[in-house]
Symmetry: C2
Subunit: 430 residues, 2 copies
Amino acid sequence: MSAPIRLGIAGLGTVGIGVVKIIQKHAELLSARCGCEIVISAVSARDRRKNRDADVSGYAWVDDPLELAARDDVDVFVELIGGDHGVAREAVELALKTGKDVVTANKALLAMHGQELAELAEEQGRVIRFEAAVAGGIPVIKTMTESLAGNRISRIMGVMNGTCNYILTRMESAGLPYETVFDEARRLGYLEADPQLDVGGIDAAHKLAILSSIAFGTRVAFDGVEIEGIERISIDDIHRAADMGYRIKLLGVAQMTARGLEQRMSPCLVPADSPLGQLQGGTNMVVIEADSVGQLVLRGAGAGEGPTASAVMSDIVELARKVRVPVFGQPAGSLTRAQPARTAVPAAYYLRLALLDKPGALAKVAAVLGDAGISIHRMRQYDHQGGTAPVLIVTHKTTPEAIDHAIAELPRTGVIAAEPVELRIEEVQS
Amino acid sequence: MSAPIRLGIAGLGTVGIGVVKIIQKHAELLSARCGCEIVISAVSARDRRKNRDADVSGYAWVDDPLELAARDDVDVFVELIGGDHGVAREAVELALKTGKDVVTANKALLAMHGQELAELAEEQGRVIRFEAAVAGGIPVIKTMTESLAGNRISRIMGVMNGTCNYILTRMESAGLPYETVFDEARRLGYLEADPQLDVGGIDAAHKLAILSSIAFGTRVAFDGVEIEGIERISIDDIHRAADMGYRIKLLGVAQMTARGLEQRMSPCLVPADSPLGQLQGGTNMVVIEADSVGQLVLRGAGAGEGPTASAVMSDIVELARKVRVPVFGQPAGSLTRAQPARTAVPAAYYLRLALLDKPGALAKVAAVLGDAGISIHRMRQYDHQGGTAPVLIVTHKTTPEAIDHAIAELPRTGVIAAEPVELRIEEVQS
């Protein structure tokens, strides 16, 4: 047995306590697997007297996370505070500067400051591990940085915000409108304090930016992600999409094209019978396409105490085993600056229009699409509802530009009763 | 950059050549990711003059794999010869004894001699990596030994023989009998030289035994796997199971119970809408259930040049990065001897009977089941075909013993026209 590895855990919320519980419960198992004991030297959290689900009285208590980060009896600083600036960032930097490795679940921090932190870690000869930052218990960081190291990755796709997937699948299964399910999710404690992080797609976009960096050897570029949340998805769209054999998911897609790096997090249609289409509730899924391995699909719990703590433990075990992998899979200095590119890869699109009850209305719409070079794959007109007729169109593959152009032109027909809804249909191998 | 890592590759079949191609094609990418160059010092194969899909003229050629294993200019011996004894085993042992780490795709070798080899490796201070030995391109070894190191694994399930899954899904989609699809698979080169390895379930059982060892911290115990192949699966069963909402898969299941370690590889019914049920063709899937992470599902190509070479490269990169994980995830000496247990975990069962056209036939069958303590969940009797009536029964959860007992009693009713077919319905979260 080697010398014990000594942790300082900053943040004793759900995940922090989950980590403490695993270390207490599986001490023997962990020692056998790591070849050394994992010990907690000290912990820190906002409120010392809070009633917690694990006994932390055996560890030194430090009020200030910065003090914890600088302690001599800590080898690995475990940052579970959260937030992309303030004390989380300062503590991580201080830990690296005082010779600690860092394990974090902080996707915002890595998405906003990953490059600087990776450079700092390398200067100090330390590493930062962050398996828990993306897709909870799914080992996607290890898979991409290690298991697929012999591959050139061509595309990554993921459903990586469990709350959004819960809302969308619950809307479908219960036939409830967005607002009702949103309120329900809030009551159940599924939403972040700022719900925009979830339903606005920001949290998921943070995760996508991190995966892109590893996949394409580029500097994390969160500002290159086109982001659209799920707020405009109506129960109507969910039902209509289902009629056509699709499900709506908040889907992240990143791919390197000749024009640059496309990164988008937006509601998309996927075939209902594809692995992504079948994903229910809070489950997450990441689909990786690479030159040698082909398609790899990873599915598991994207949040919650156990799964997230499992991912944090994976990083701790890695460090206990003296495994040291570069932060984003290769030296920070070798990561290139990707040219951000707006989505240009063609796809089929779903359009929902509300047509006024006028003769020739459909013909006028068809003409606009035709003029934009868009050909129609399937179309359904439903019964009139209060003077307007819902019309669904699934196009053949076309460019986002053509769709934008057509959408801009449609009002001129004088037959459009409401803002058209347009959603990309992402091609997924089933 | 550190000093290059030097490989000796023994075996230049599909996988060996796949590895050579990746190393040649992605030299720069690999150097950036590993922090050192990956070079091939020497190769060995049966026929030097064979026309190969990659240029190996730049590497030293060695006719004898043993000579290759002992070379001074080799750091990692890559064993892609195959077979659980003979030259593959001798070469691996020699490589370890002469100070090399070993990367292998040889599931039979590890299933039969994993413990001795792990002990030898540790004595020599070397490691053996074998990501490619189980489920091709799916990173299941790394996931279990590293990502889930903070978990106690409770059950693993897997569809891990692509050829069997191809045969079963092709039978269903084309409505063809087993024999026809078997011949087709043979013509397409999907079957091993000894087809029993595939359709007899042996290859998949090798893989299961390896996963069990990692999951439960036990010595590999291939002889503890209850094995049944897919030869007795008829197109009738496939159709009848589909009628009831199930698909038939050659499914491996390993779980630790109070009675000991249950390991079985056998055709089972799984819900058609579960991830396992939806698996088509040669794709593999591994489902891992563990205390913290919950359920984790990994899906990908289980065989083929690219996926298998991708897994071999993952091991090579690991060694190039100086990552050293114990062979089965913990020291070989700490692996316990598991008590092998026959399957006792209760499950629902599918029974297909051919009843003679006699009054009260069904009542007699129902009585036998009732006497064995088996209650019926669903039953369907189909039209008589040539004097016998096919009857399908899905039972409520019962024990394998009760089913065996009932099957043994059934002939005494005098109404059974043919050998009953009984298949376990494995419970899978969907």
